[in-house]
């Protein structure tokens, strides 16, 4: 790139200008066009910043504030404790129109804080707005703890006593913090967490495996019923096998159930009592707690560690509480698996089509038309592909497949319902134009001389293609595939029709034969954002998680895109050298 492309405007600057000549020179319009770039840059960077700040900030264990509050409506005084979630300026007019009688002398604009007060089981709401002017004696008591629970969201309050099988082991008076009590609490919580992990492990792997085998046996039995021309001896042998297997599973099931019962008794052994700032005493079992923190006495380093722990949990755990808490691991897994399957399907077909169009097809009007058509398909709305996938794959092909191969399971559909296979196939069709276009571009960049050299040495066309052209075009193919992957990873609209669900009971890849369950529905990061942000019963609580999920998705896609860009640049450099 030479410098002539940027025009030297300094020539015109030095002249002594009037406003009119300045306008006539067009200088202001250059600034205006520059402003368009500035606005776009600010928008992109601002968007990424919003996602980063809001998404990552969610994991930060901020301090718990406690204050006295006089309600503006009823005038009653209460104690409030919670974490500051948001703060905004509201005009007096808006507050008055919502029925609050406020002292007009304090100015026209008031500060309002959104506090996450938790204790949804006691108060019914997670978040509440408080007028700043009505708060008094704001403090951060060191004994105030936040518990992340498996149900009902966060709990804010003071620890009172730790109990074992209903008998108090250790206790402390309310609002007083004592280290040994807390240590006792921590160690028992850790025990409960470990037990819980074992229970989860058994339920998720062993029990599920047994259930899966039972289901397979049921299908075998049904298939046996449907198969009319089986001789009776075989039939008897087969039903005996099924009965035997059933009995075997039943025994295993009982053993597992016993272990689980035992574990459940163990985990339910310990409990503790805590008191909220308003003086309500509650008794909870340790089994219901995920995290317990005392943010007001944590150092910055401890907070950073806690932040990383939460982040790791977000990436590796399953969602809880209708997806509003916990992690997004199944969604990450689903997205990656679906995209992998898609790229396995799209790469060979896209490359073959591109090679055909560029190397074998007669370059005429027809090929040109096809090329334009393929190019334009990349611009067809993705929802159209979704509709196609639903109608053609799910209701068309899927139902036929069910009738041919999965008759035993009918009327419950196997492939005649949205699922992983159809989702990845639909996205493969959606992204195949991207791969074709990129590969073709790569093929077109390979100099004629290289091809001719190979042919002149006696290689056949196929050999030239395989040994010379394709290796040289491979970076272009990679670019195409990566771009396809990036597009597929962010696409949601078609997936909503062909296989994504808000909560999949199991990952589509597990230890049960055939390991990869192509008929299963799966979770997806993009859909997770849509679902949690817009369909969730508790949007306020879920919002930070949505920001975090969105940030994760952006990071994944940005990494994919930048690698595509780098590969492309690398490729261009390579052929620049070849052309000389």
């Amino acid at each position: 790139m030479d410098h002539s492309e940027t025009q030297d405007t300094s020539l015109y600057r030095s002249q002594d200008q009037t406003v009119a000549t300045w306008f006539r020179s067009g200088e202001p319009w250059i600034w205006v066009t520059g402003a368009a770039v500035a606005v776009s840059v600010i928008a992109v960077v601002g968007l990424l910043l919003i996602l980063a700040v809001r998404g990552l900030g969610h994991f930060w264990p901020s301090d718990i504030v406690q204050f006295d509050y006089v309600d503006a409506r009823s005038g009653t005084q209460t104690v409030v404790a919670g974490q500051l979630a948001d703060s905004e300026q509201v005009s007096l007019e808006q507050l008055s129109s919502s029925g609050l009688a406020l002292d007009p002398s304090l100015g026209d604009i008031r500060r309002r804080d959104l506090i996450k007060t938790g204790n949804r089981d006691l108060t019914g709401a997670d978040f509440r707005w408080f007028l700043y002017e009505r708060m008094s004696t704001i403090e951060k008591p060191e004994g105030l703890m936040v518990l992340e629970r498996r149900e009902w969201g966060n709990f804010y309050g003071y620890l009172l006593a730790v109990k074992e099988a209903g008998v108090t082991v250790t206790e402390q008076p309310p609002m007083v913090f004592s280290e040994p009590v807390w240590e006792e609490f921590r160690s028992r919580l850790q025990r409960a967490l470990d037990l819980n992990e074992t229970i989860q492990d058994i339920e998720k792997n062993d029990t599920r495996a047994l259930n899966y085998r039972l289901e397979q046996l049921r299908l075998d039995e049904r298939a046996l019923e449907l198969n009319e021309n089986l001789d009776s001896q075989l039939r008897q042998r087969e039903s005996a096998r099924i009965a035997e297997a059933r009995a075997e599973i039943a025994v295993k099931y009982d053993v597992l159930q016993e272990t689980l019962n035992d574990l459940h008794t163990q985990i339910g052994r310990d409990s503790f009592t805590a008191i909220t700032v308003t003086g309500q005493e509650v008794e909870l079992t340790f089994a219901k707690v995920v995290h317990a923190l005392l943010p007001n006495q944590m150092s910055v380093l401890e907070k950073v560690l806690a932040w990383f722990a939460k982040l790791a949990e977000f990436l590796s755990e399953e969602p809880r509480e209708a997806n509003t808490e916990g992690g997004v691991y199944p969604a990450i897994f689903g997205t990656v698996l679906m995209v992998l399957l898609m790229s396995i399907m799209v790469t060979p077909f896209g490359v073959v089509a591109a090679v055909y169009l560029r190397e074998y097809a007669k370059q005429g009007v027809v090929t040109r038309t096809i090329r334009i058509a393929v190019n334009n398909l990349a611009g067809v709305p993705s929802i159209v592909y979704g509709v196609f996938g639903l109608g053609f794959f799910v209701y068309g092909v899927g139902e036929q497949v069910d009738h041919l191969f999965f008759e035993a399971a009918l009327p419950a559909p196997t492939f005649g319902t949205p699922g992983l296979l159809w989702a990845s196939l639909t996205l493969a069709i959606l992204t195949v134009p991207v791969v074709i276009v990129a590969t073709e571009e790569g093929l077109a960049r390979i100099p004629r001389s290289v091809r001719e050299g190979s042919l002149a040495l006696g290689a056949t066309k196929a050999e030239t293609l395989w040994r010379v052209v394709l290796p040289m075009a491979s970076p272009a193919m990679m670019t195409g595939v990566i771009l396809a992957v990036a597009r597929a990873a962010g696409e949601v609209a078609p997936l909503m029709l062909v296989g994504v669900v808000k909560l999949a009971p199991a990952l589509p890849l597990d230890g049960n034969f055939p390991f990869l369950h192509l008929d299963q529905k799966f979770m997806h990061l993009g859909f997770h954002i849509y679902d949690v942000g817009f369909q969730s019963p508790n949007v306020e609580a879920a919002r930070p998680l949505v920001y975090a999920t969105a940030l994760l998705l952006v990071v994944v896609i940005a990494v994919l895109n930048f690698s595509a860009v780098n590969i492309r640049n690398h490729l261009r450099e390579k052929y620049k050298a070849l052309e000389h």
């Binding site: 776009s40 919003i50 169009l357 709305p381 109608g391 949601v492 969105a550």
Partner: protein, 751 residues
């Protein structure tokens, strides 16, 4: 070339050579096959969409399957087919309910409806779908009956067992003590109330209202009947109808005068009970009148062959029956039938012409002559509307299988204003489903297409100037070092999943805009002049400072300026609100300007979708401007033109086709975008260009409704049609853009 390789080439028939040739040929065929298959698969989308929507535009077809005579006495008063299409009921004037097999006419069961002393003097059917009918007897009493069916399974075989029930108790209702025969009769049975109207031979009209209550302990029905008589109805009554809501009684005279009585006023003593009087078809005789499914529309067929649809309209608080739609047909007598699930009508002209019409779409899906002998004695359509049964004057039953899947759509129903039932005027409405069965689906694409274009328009309003100005600057003025950083940023912007933009638009931007409404408009108004001012200020700065900015770094200088200005606008938002809008701009808009305001509105969509479209337009337009051959601009500059003049006079005319195609592709993307619209609007299908209200687009509509649509139903196919419309629109727009770009590339090549 070495000796060995030469010999290799010459030695054609060695095994090795054959293998190579085979491989070459194999590769050729495999790649051609594979390539064509992929291209075929892509084409399949187009063909499949066509295949799914084709049935929408096909005419209905019928096929005569059988005809057989009915052996036995008694003329038929009524025939009705049961749900499965296996049995039909034939009520004859001897008072027998004959249940016969549809395929053979064989008698399956006969139930006597009368005692030996009773004779039928009139008959009325409430409606086909309620299966309630009434017999008016010559002793002045009325029997209300209902035919019902049970499925009984014996192993895998299903048998349908018919029965006759008594919805109002099994004793006859006495309409008149005078024991005069009932000459005309009407009945309606509702959940809480039933109404019977009967005209006796003394020309007295009796009205019986029966209130029903179910004892919640014994679950037995208790009935409480009240009897009224209507005076001055006139003598020659031809037909009585009670409306489905049991509010009105329609009395048709032999002179084709229709009198409508308000039943509630009759019950209060009869004063002013006549709610209206209509001459239904002046100059012609009325063949048949009946209600369409749902009991809202009255259908009238007259001897000129015209079928008219009427329903209630309010004029200044006065309800009047208004004629809203007509279907032309053949002169002569005719029987009309209504479907039980849809607003479909069958018109059987006694001369043999059959028309299958549909009211909403004003479409006649089938029109042809069918053969039966003589007049139509009775006729019935099965509940699934797949079977037509006619008993002719010679007591022969004729059977047709009807294939009429999608009469609900027509070009007019999709794109024109349609006068839907109970609407005051023809309107564009999309409302595909509702909770009740007799709902009239409203498939108008117009509000969706309007919403699509509205969303696209507002996003293009934002995206087009920003992207094109940005492209101009980046391609022509920007320093190469900066350009290398900007381009990947824009590419990243293009790759941002729209679900993220939609989520930010819905959950962050929409509340932000609502709260800082004045700031948004202040930015639009103040930013451009402020930029020019800054530029002017810059030109007045001492040359040493100006020189410190390298060429093509205007954008970098402007970033802090734009940031500060935006911050000022946002900070000043609340004071502005206090100053100009009484502290609440939103309330001010609604109360003072009468502009309704949704939080998720077109402005939010415009910004979010604009954001999604900017990179598309930007990169194509930038490419077009950057590829303008350098010698053109250099020549212009050398001749003394300023860079701006060069841009306007030399670069832009050359690059404008490219910019045009960039806009087209951006438009295509805005039209098809789903997630942003889904998340950032309320998805209400309204036709209003107001920037502060939402919309529903074709794409979002598909995403919302396809998962719930019943496969192969009209709704499902209409959604496929919407997808097809989107497909064709974007495909055509993109093709135009692509052709323009190719032309441009050729032009650059020749320069």
């Amino acid at each position: 070339m070495t000796q060995s390789s030469e010999s290799l080439l010459l030695e054609k028939d060695s095994f090795f050579q054959r293998k190579r040739r085979f491989k070459d040929r194999f590769a050729r065929h495999a790649i051609a096959g594979g390539g064509l298959a992929v291209i075929g698969a892509i084409l399949l989308i187009f063909l499949y969409l066509l295949y799914e929507i084709a049935p929408l535009f096909q005419s209905a077809s019928i096929e005569k399957t059988d005809s057989y005579p009915i052996v036995g006495d008694g003329q038929s008063l009524h025939i009705a087919v049961e749900e499965q299409g296996e049995l039909f009921l034939r009520v004859n004037d001897a008072g027998l309910a004959e249940f016969r097999r549809v395929e053979s006419g064989q008698l399956s069961k006969t139930i006597p409806l009368l005692d030996s002393s009773e004779t039928i003097s009139s008959f009325a059917s409430a409606s086909n779908e309620s299966r309630v009918f009434a017999l008016g007897l010559s002793n002045g009493t009325v029997k209300v009956l209902k035919h019902d069916y049970r499925s009984v399974y014996r192993g895998d075989d299903r048998e349908i067992v018919p029965e006759i029930k008594f919805p109002l108790g099994d004793s006859a209702r006495v309409l008149t003590d005078s024991a005069n025969p009932i000459q005309a009769l009407a009945v309606r049975d509702g959940d809480a109330q039933a109404t019977i109207a009967g005209m006796d031979s003394n020309d007295t009209l009796h009205l019986m209202v029966i209130e029903k209550e179910q004892n919640f302990l014994s679950e037995e029905w208790e009935f409480n009947e009240q009897l009224f008589t209507l005076a001055d109805v006139g003598s020659a009554v031809r037909k009585l109808i009670v409306s489905e809501d049991q509010r009105y009684l329609f009395v048709l005279s032999h002179a084709d005068d229709l009198k409508v009585y308000d039943i509630s006023k009759v019950r209060q003593g009869g004063i002013d009970s006549l709610a209206g009087q209509y001459s239904l078809s002046p100059g012609h005789t009325v063949n048949d009148i009946r209600f369409l499914l749902g009991g809202i529309s009255l259908l009238v067929h007259d001897s000129s062959g015209v079928l008219t649809q009427w329903f209630w309209q309010s004029f200044d608080g006065q309800r009047r029956l208004e004629k809203v739609r007509t279907f032309a047909g053949e002169q002569g007598n005719a029987t009309i039938l209504t479907e039980q699930r849809r607003k479909g009508i069958a018109i059987i002209n006694h001369s043999g012409l059959l028309q299958l019409a549909y009211t909403t779409s004003s479409r006649v899906a089938f029109e042809d002559t069918i053969d039966f002998a003589g007049a139509v004695r009775q006729a019935a359509i099965s509940p699934r509307a797949n079977l037509l049964l006619i008993e002719d004057g010679q007591q022969t039953i004729h059977l047709w299988a009807v294939d009429n899947e999608h009469p609900e759509t027509s070009f007019g129903a999709l794109w024109d204003e349609v006068w839907y039932e109970s609407y005051p005027e023809p309107e564009y409405v999309w409302q595909s489903s509702a909770s009740n069965n007799d709902f009239e689906p409203k498939y108008s694409f117009s509000p969706l297409a309007f919403g699509t274009l509205k969303a696209a328009f507002y996003s293009m309003m934002l995206a087009a100037p920003l992207a094109i100005c940005g492209a101009i600057y980046t391609a022509f003025f920007m320093a190469p070092a900066l350009r290398r950083k900007i381009k990947p940023l824009v590419e990243l912007m293009e790759a941002l999943p729209t679900v993220i933009l939609g989520f930010l638009a819905g959950l962050w931007l929409a509340p932000f805009v609502e709260k800082h409404l004045p700031a948004i408009f202040a930015m639009l108004v103040f930013l451009p002049p402020a930029i020019v001012l800054v530029a002017f200020g810059w030109s007045k700065l001492p040359i040493r400072i100006r020189e410190s900015m390298p060429d093509g770094f205007h954008a970098a200088v402007l970033i802090p300026v734009v940031l500060v200005l935006s911050y000022l606008c946002i900070a000043a938002s609340q004071p502005m609100e206090l100053l100009f809008f009484d502290g609440d701009a939103r309330a001010w808009l609604t109360n003072d300007l009468g502009v309704s305001f949704d939080q998720r509105n077109a402005l939010v969509v415009g910004v979010a979708m604009g954001f999604a479209v900017i990179p598309t337009i930007f990169s194509i337009a930038e490419d077009a401007i950057f590829s303008v051959p350098k010698h053109l601009s250099n020549g212009s500059l050398a001749l003394g033109a300023t860079p701006w003049q060069t841009l306007l006079r030399v670069i832009m005319p050359t690059a404008s086709p490219g910019i045009f195609s960039a806009m087209m592709i951006g438009l295509g993307r805005a039209v098809g975008e789903t997630m942003i619209v889904l998340m950032a609007t309320g998805n209400t299908p309204i036709m209003d260009a107001n920037i502060f209200e939402g919309m529903r687009t074709l794409a979002a509509n598909i995403a919302v409704e396809v998962p719930e649509a019943e496969v192969d139903s009209t709704h499902y196919r209409v959604l496929f049609l919407a997808a097809f419309v989107l497909f064709m629109f974007t495909f055509i727009v993109n093709t135009i853009a692509e052709l323009v770009r190719q032309r441009l590339r050729e032009r650059y090549g020749s320069l």
